[in-house]
């Protein structure tokens, strides 16, 4: 019972982290129709920038400045890169962002090298917030939860309650009409891209100390972010949140409990072939849930695509 609670908290942390990445990506996709392959690279840049700033000015300045730098970089990429490629259609845009992801990874290795960086949580958060049955929850994780929840509330408020948000939402579905009403749609696009990448930057800043800051960090998170927005429904903030939490909890619980395929198959009335090591079904029978935990989200995505192609909260066909 205690362990369930601990796993709920761990899954929440993973899920909220994923949300910060997918929120930006899903907004960018629904607005510009661009799958930004470089999104996770901006997350990595956030971590590296924050590490570099934290050496001189401490963690908190890193948290403030790094996402801003990443956001400005992202806006620049939209303004001077994507906008030029846009006229040639979606495929060149895809290739552009794909190339950008590779470029950023090489650049990071060029500047910081291939080793992991000793990027640490600030002194003031290096204590155990509380522990449940011997499992300590580090204060930094609590901080991560609060930061992401605050960002979600902020985003939701801006998108649904403010004038800027309304224009963004309108530009999502009727860009020409919004333009005709005198709004500068390219500027809105640039802004959304900038904010989206800045969010990824924030995720990087607070994930770097926990998941370690190394050149492969974009790669390990890259694909799962796309899975999240497909499950959640393209362009839906709530969808991104629900899908992220779902994925966070599914993977955490699958890893935390050794559910064995053997037990499942026996309950279903199959008998275990003996001797098992000669059987063609050996791999299936010896499967355990931690082994497949990381592909469960992909299975979920396939199911969603079959039964509800527009995602959990999506409004239109993908």
């Amino acid at each position: 019972m205690d362990l369930i609670l601990v796993n709920l908290i761990d899954g929440l942390v993973t899920g909220l982290l994923l949300f910060m990445l997918s929120a930006g990506l899903t907004l960018i996709f629904s607005m510009m129709g661009v799958l930004n392959f470089a999104h996770a690279s901006f997350y990595m840049l956030g971590a590296y920038f924050a590490y570099q700033i934290s050496i001189y000015l401490g963690f908190w300045m890193g948290l403030l400045i790094a996402p801003l730098v990443v956001g400005v970089l992202g806006a620049g990429v939209e303004r001077y890169g994507l906008r030029r490629v846009h006229q040639y259609g979606h495929v060149p845009e895809l290739i552009f962002t794909f190339g950008l992801a590779l470029l950023i990874e090489e650049l990071v290795q060029f500047i910081w090298g291939k080793n992991a960086m000793p990027y640490e949580a600030p002194e003031s958060l290096q204590f155990t917030a509380f522990s449940i049955a011997g499992n300590s929850i580090p204060a930094f994780k609590v901080f991560m939860i609060f930061t992401s929840v605050l960002i979600f509330i902020g985003l939701l408020y801006v998108l649904t309650r403010t004038r800027v948000g309304m224009i963004i939402q309108a530009a999502l579905s009727y860009p020409r009409t919004v333009e005709a009403l005198g709004h500068n749609v390219p500027l809105i696009f640039m802004g959304v891209f900038g904010v989206g990448t800045a969010l990824a930057g924030v995720a990087g800043v607070i994930a770097g100390p926990v998941l370690s800051t190394f050149p492969g960090m974009a790669f390990v998170l890259g694909s799962i972010v796309f899975v999240t927005i497909v499950i959640g429904g393209l362009g839906s903030l709530w969808g991104a949140l629900v899908a992220s939490l779902l994925i966070g909890w599914i993977t955490t619980f699958a890893k935390a409990y050794n559910l064995r395929m053997e037990d499942l198959l026996t309950t279903l009335g199959f008998t275990k072939p003996e001797p098992i090591w000669d059987s063609a079904w050996r791999d299936l029978w010896t499967l355990t849930s931690p082994q497949i935990a990381d592909i469960l989200p992909y299975i979920l995505m396939v199911l969603i695509l079959i039964f509800r192609p527009y995602g959990l909260f999506g409004k239109r066909d993908a």
Binding site: N7, D10, M117, P118, L211, S212, F214, L221, F253, K255
Partner: protein, 414 residues
């Protein structure tokens, strides 16, 4: 006119070719390991150590066989066995006769098979496999062949030495074994279970689990399980990003016992553990760095630091590979007939600057050497890792570890 031009060109080409072969040709060693992806840092650091060792130990002393230099040619295999076989072919096509690889026993298993086949079919372009870090015991047992030489102690030898230290600690009643899901991780788990069972049957193994290699983003759920199991100690063979992720997560989430590892040092890992791992992380390795084994090694390490101020010599066996290969080539009087070189390597006794004598066991091509168990600390550290102030301090040494261990190798010699 045209004809004479062709003739002239042909003659010029012939002259150029013979001139090239007249010069002392470099002895090329193909380094096939990950230089990109999650394990890039481990591979790149290994490459630096190879390049340095070749230059420092051989080229600066006039090379081998009257002036032939060692040259390390790097190939990126992205830690994929498939990619490695392609790179192996490229290396062979370039006329390279020595293949060095170490990261991942999965790759080493693929390479050793491919090299065995290649050498049987192409007696004119045979190659030697210098395995400097892949420690799956099968490579010098069931899967052994004449072309494969292992310069690191295999997983069984290491676990034998490591468990000696574990069983000496009376506080340890329950251990948790966790590793990467491939041949090496499984070998570590099997060896740990076997040796603990023999030495201290009262120790309970409360967890024995494998996780996907290089794919886990967050190790928190695993550390929760370790905590919940009530384990007093953790044993892991993890390396690279997986070691870093697991170690950090286990410590952060409240585990308080010691962690026994194979590879928890260097490549940014030592810096990342810093104070949190002090006195708790132990690892088994060959070659003593703190205290340094010899003046020669001290000079070598300082020269390395001058070239790579941020670098570490965390795989000192690479120096043994280069030193022994040079000695074997000198002894054979040729660098191109690898059968002769292999015969020299077999049974070779070599004085390692990193401490002690090493011996290449002829029956299975497993190098027998002193094993050290060290602890991660910042006290009495002369050579730290990752310029962090922390390093590995040798606590105990087992001389010529597992010298008489059994092998199932039935080697076919050419």
């Amino acid at each position: 006119m045209k004809k004479s031009l062709k003739l002239g060109l042909g003659a010029a080409l012939a002259v150029a070719l013979s001139a090239a072969s007249g010069f002392a040709e470099n002895v090329k060693i193909a380094f096939i390991d990950p230089l990109s992806g999650p394990f890039a840092s481990t591979g790149t650091n290994g490459l630096h150590q190879y390049e340095f060792a070749a230059d420092y130990m051989v080229n600066q002393n006039g090379g081998v066989l009257d002036g032939r230099n060692f040259e390390i040619v790097a190939f990126d295999n992205k830690i994929s066995p498939k990619e490695s076989l392609i790179q192996l072919q490229v290396a062979i096509d370039q006329g390279i006769r020595y293949i060095a690889q170490g990261n991942s026993s999965g790759v080493a298993n693929a390479l050793t098979d491919a090299i065995d086949k290649h050498n049987r079919r192409n007696p004119d372009s045979r190659v030697l496999f210098l395995n400097y870090a892949a420690v799956d015991p099968a490579l010098t047992n069931d899967k052994c062949n004449f072309w494969h030489f292992r310069f690191d102690a295999n997983a069984d030898i290491k676990m034998d030495a490591l468990t000696d230290v574990i069983v000496a600690n009376e506080d340890i009643k329950k251990v948790y074994i966790i590793g990467q899901d491939y041949s090496f991780g499984k070998a570590v788990a099997a060896a740990a279970t076997k040796f603990l069972g023999e030495k201290r049957p009262d120790i309970e193994i409360v967890g024995n689990e494998l996780h996907p290699i290089g794919k886990v983003k967050d190790f928190t759920p695993y550390s929760r399980k370790i905590n919940a199991s009530g384990a007093d100690a953790v044993i892991t063979g993890n390396w690279g990003a997986d070691m870093l992720g697991l170690g950090k997560s286990v410590i952060e989430n409240g585990f308080e016992g010691p962690i026994y590892t194979y590879y928890a040092a260097g490549s940014g890992i030592t810096a990342a553990f810093g104070d949190t791992g002090k006195g708790r992380i132990r690892l088994i390795s060959q070659g003593g760095i703190n205290p340094i084994a010899s003046e020669e090694a001290r000079a070598a390490y300082n020269a390395f630091k001058e070239k790579y101020p941020e670098g570490n010599i965390d795989q000192s066996r690479i120096f043994n590979v280069i030193g022994m290969l040079a000695q074997a080539i000198e002894g054979a009087g040729t660098a191109d007939d690898v059968v002769e070189v292999a015969k020299q390597l077999e049974g070779m006794e070599y004085e390692s600057m990193w401490g002690g004598k090493v011996f290449m066991r002829p029956q299975d091509h497993q190098l027998i050497q002193d094993m050290n168990v060290g602890v991660h600390t910042d006290e009495n550290i002369e050579f730290d890792y990752d310029t962090s102030g922390y390093g590995i301090l040798t606590e105990s040494t087992i001389e010529m570890a597992s010298m008489d261990s059994a092998t199932t190798c039935k080697m076919r010699r050419p």
